[in-house]
Amino acid sequence: MKPQLADLEQISSSARNTGSELSLRGVSHSYGELATLAAIDLQVEAGEVVGLVGPSGCGKSTLLELICGLREPDGGEIAIEGNAGARDRLARCAFMPQRDLLLPWYSAIDNAALALRNQGMRREPARAAARDLFERFGLGGFETARPAELSGGMRQRVAFLRTLIAGKPLLALDEPFAALDAITRGQMQEWLATAVRTDPRTVVLVTHDVEEALYLCDRVVVLSARPARIVAEYSAPVRRTEKRDAAVTGAEFAATREKALQSLREGSR
């Protein structure tokens, strides 16, 4: 199941730096009798940040797992840079689960460097690579802290860096800020907006927060209740900036948010 070195080397270095395109054609999935996804068609360009919004339990997380190659869909095809096998996708995606799931037996930096260690890098060079990002992303000084000593926002940053350091062209984020309080969530959204701008990747972000999706993403896809299908798509009303408050209070943003919420309500029925 583990992606082989050959798979990893196939990923072009330009794709590593800017992301790679993702295409879903007629993707459907069910758990036994329970149909979760119905014929999803979606095209994501390289470097694009796409938000998936939908009611709770609609199959957003399943869709993310399918994209990452953690499962194969029952029907349809998912391809990244034209590669449709689960192992090919696994090699190209880094999955960030809902909860940070930092390993308590490792320091913050060893948690962040986990992917490099898995890829066979020795401990010291892996730490050195992670240390560089710690400085850049406001975690300098917390390298040796245990996860239990970090605040919720800090833990989420380490978890995101762990995903970023894997060097995959596509990042799959599953409600990364759902567990945070409103103030920390706002700060983390600004932080992520900056991170994605300075280190561009293709990002698929699952959330149930329409505002978060519209602020962070280039494009927001609204899914219906189970079995999920795409009910609407919205382009981001503003370019991503780190000024969240200004961005989300603009008239155009508010209008798009209301329309998106309306689609979400209609799709929930």
């Binding site: 583990k2 696994l90 689960p97 390993l103 037996w105 986990l114 260690r117 995903t163």
Partner: protein, 250 residues
């Protein structure tokens, strides 16, 4: 402090009560026995001192049996747990048998194993391992199953091999559970050791207790039991120390 002081006071109080009951003759009258059959704590202490060489010699025999037995149980228990965690077929096949094996009384299999393996250390190690491997296996398996499915997905997505998943996530998650099993194993190991020695032996604390029963050496029996308890407590303390060192993140 309180954790040590309170049980120490309670123990001292109980020994004091026993001392008074035995030295005034109240205990032997109540039991309607001769006084040498109802020794006081002071007489037990005296026996402990007088027989120190004999007790140390036999304690060494029993300690070795227990250490080897527990180590064998750890190896077998972890092996079974990892196997049952890795292969569903093995879990389905072996789990009911492992539970059923615990319903067989040690008292019954100890003599059989002695017939098979002789009077040396081997049957003792097997019997101790047999009583100890159950809590170790079950706790280690629980520990391995306590891993979050999301953590497995995260590791797979971060290019972890099966071995790396075990080494970096499953094993550390299971370790605290394994230590819980080890603490139970250490406490029941002396019971296994005594039964094993009763089934056939030429030395050991259990053997000493058995021969003293025949000779009405009650004071020395109490002294032997005290030594056996001290061994078990020492092993417990070692286990707790090891746990603190190994599972330092808790």
């Amino acid at each position: 402090m309180r954790r040590w002081v309170l049980p120490a006071i309670l123990l001292a109080g109980l020994i004091g009560l026993w001392q008074v009951a035995a030295s005034t003759g109240a205990l032997k009258d109540a039991l309607n026995l001769q006084s040498f059959l109802v020794p006081s704590p002071a007489e037990v202490a005296e026996s402990l001192w007088e027989n120190r060489a004999l007790l140390a010699e036999n304690a060494w025999v029993t300690l070795r049996e227990m250490v080897f037995g527990i180590l064998a149980a750890v190896v077998v228990g972890v092996g079974f747990a990892v196997g049952m965690h890795r292969w569903q077929v093995m879990r389905d096949a072996a789990y009911p048998l492992i539970v059923a094996s615990q319903t067989i009384p040690v008292l019954v299999i100890a003599p059989i194993l002695t017939v098979w393996f002789g009077y040396g250390i081997a049957p003792k190690v097997v019997i101790i391992a047999l009583v100890c491997f159950f809590p170790l296996t079950i706790n280690a398996l629980d520990g391995l199953r306590a891993v979050e499915p999301e953590a497995v997905k995260m590791m797979r997505s971060l290019d972890a091999s099966r071995w790396q998943l075990f080494r970096r996530v499953e094993a550390p998650t299971a370790l605290p559970h394994l230590f819980t099993g080890a603490k139970i194993a250490v406490v029941i190991a002396p019971i296994g050791a005594v039964f094993a020695e009763w089934a056939g032996s030429s030395a050991g604390l259990g053997h000493l207790i058995q021969s003293d029963t025949a000779n009405f050496e009650v004071a020395r029996q109490f002294a032997t039991v005290a030594v056996l308890s001290a061994l078990a407590l020492a092993l417990m303390a070692l286990t707790v120390l090891a746990e603190r060192r190994v599972v330092g993140w808790r």
